[in-house]
Amino acid sequence: MVLAKVTEFLTIDPATIVLTLCNTLILFLILKHFLFDKVNKVIDDRKNEIAESYKNADEAQRKAENLAAEYDAKIGKAKEEGAEIVRAATVKAQTRSDEIIAEARAEAKGIVDNANNEIEREKKIAVNQIKDEIAQIAISAASAVAEKEIGLKDNEKLIESFIEHVGEQ
């Protein structure tokens, strides 16, 4: 067995320094490339994703709030419109019913008037007919009863006074 060469407890050995420097740099590159770069990338990606999803969530919430406000406004407007329609319909119905009633009244009045007129006319016709008949009867009676000669003037006077009397009776 070859006895290993042993260095001094405290020496400065340039070869060891240079090799340790190389080793340290290699370890640095390994840690940087295989651990830090990879893990940092994943962590950054995750951070970005979380930020992104928060942003999206905020945006969605804002949108939802906007929509809710919009719908509220729309519903309010619709209610108002409905009330307006009901009110307009009520007014229209009122007007229409008033009109109908007025028309009916007018019609009824027309019918009554017509009826009155008719009655009046019929009455006149009847009176005239009666007058004519009475005149006829008087003439025929007079001519039959009194065989005496009467002038045309006297005749007429007689008839009229007769009719007057008839009317009074």
Binding site: F9, L19, I30, K32, K38, V39, V42, I43
Partner: protein
């Protein structure tokens, strides 16, 4: 006694430039690199935005821990330094903890902390020059009054040296103390007849439990805390060097 007062063994010699000695330190460094590479590849296998695997959580915890450390000590714009700080942490912690496997601590070789301290020193100088220009960097040594020049120069050199010696002293001191305790316990066991020999292998009852407890401090705690201190000092020095010129 084997190990005490000795540097790392030479594992083999490269037959170039008149023979370059490859010590235990370097070989252990390679082992750590391979182990870290495998662990990294395993941990980052199948990363997804919605983690489903435990290993991704572990990877993210570690990366998040270092990122957070760099963030709070250096600031947001220094995030690119996180892998370097992680390198120091991982290399220093694992380099110290290999002693638990019976290997020689990598950081108990003065050359290793010295290399890292020099790297930190280069970064400090680079950021000072970048922030204040060469002239501003030179002027910095003569501030606040020119009389301070020697003191400033001294403190500039003392920064990396103190960092290197702090780590080296702690880890190698721990190793020395552990070895001393082992030999002391062997002697003590023999003294109270609790030493047995089975087939040429000596068994000392006193060595069974006590070194494990002490190892928690000298290997585990010391190794981790020194790595943390080294990384923190690097962050503080480098970020304050960049702030100085502003």
């Amino acid at each position: 006694m084997d190990g005490i007062g000795q540097g790392p063994k030479v594992v083999f010699t490269l037959p170039i430039f008149g023979g370059i000695d490859i010590t235990e330190t370097i070989v252990i460094g390679w082992l750590i690199i391979v182990a870290v590479l495998l662990v990294c590849l395993y941990l980052t296998k199948g990363l997804s935005k919605k983690p489903t695997k435990k290993r991704q959580i572990v990877a993210e915890m570690f990366v998040g821990f270092v990122n957070n450390m760099v963030d709070t000590t250096m600031g947001k714009k220094w995030k690119r330094y996180a892998p370097y700080i992680a390198t120091l942490l991982v290399y220093a912690v694992l380099g110290a903890l290999v002693s638990l496997l019976g290997l020689r601590s990598m950081t108990a070789d003065f050359n290793v902390p010295l290399t890292w301290a020099l790297m930190t020193f280069i970064l400090i100088t680079y950021h000072k020059i970048r922030a204040g220009g060469v002239l501003g960097y030179a002027k910095g040594f003569a501030s606040p009054i020119p009389v301070m020049l020697p003191l400033n120069l001294l403190s500039e050199v003392a920064t990396p040296l103190s960092m290197a010696f702090r780590m080296f002293g702690n880890i190698s001191g721990g190793a020395v103390i552990t070895t001393l305790i082992y030999s002391a316990l062997a002697g003590l066991s023999k003294l109270i007849h609790l030493s047995f020999e089975i087939g040429g292998i000596g068994l000392n009852a006193g060595q069974l439990f006590i070194p494990a407890v002490l190892s928690v401090y000298f290997d585990l705690f010391s190794g981790c805390i020194q790595a943390y201190i080294f990384a923190t000092l690097t962050m503080v020095y480098v970020s304050s060097a960049a702030d100085e010129g502003e």
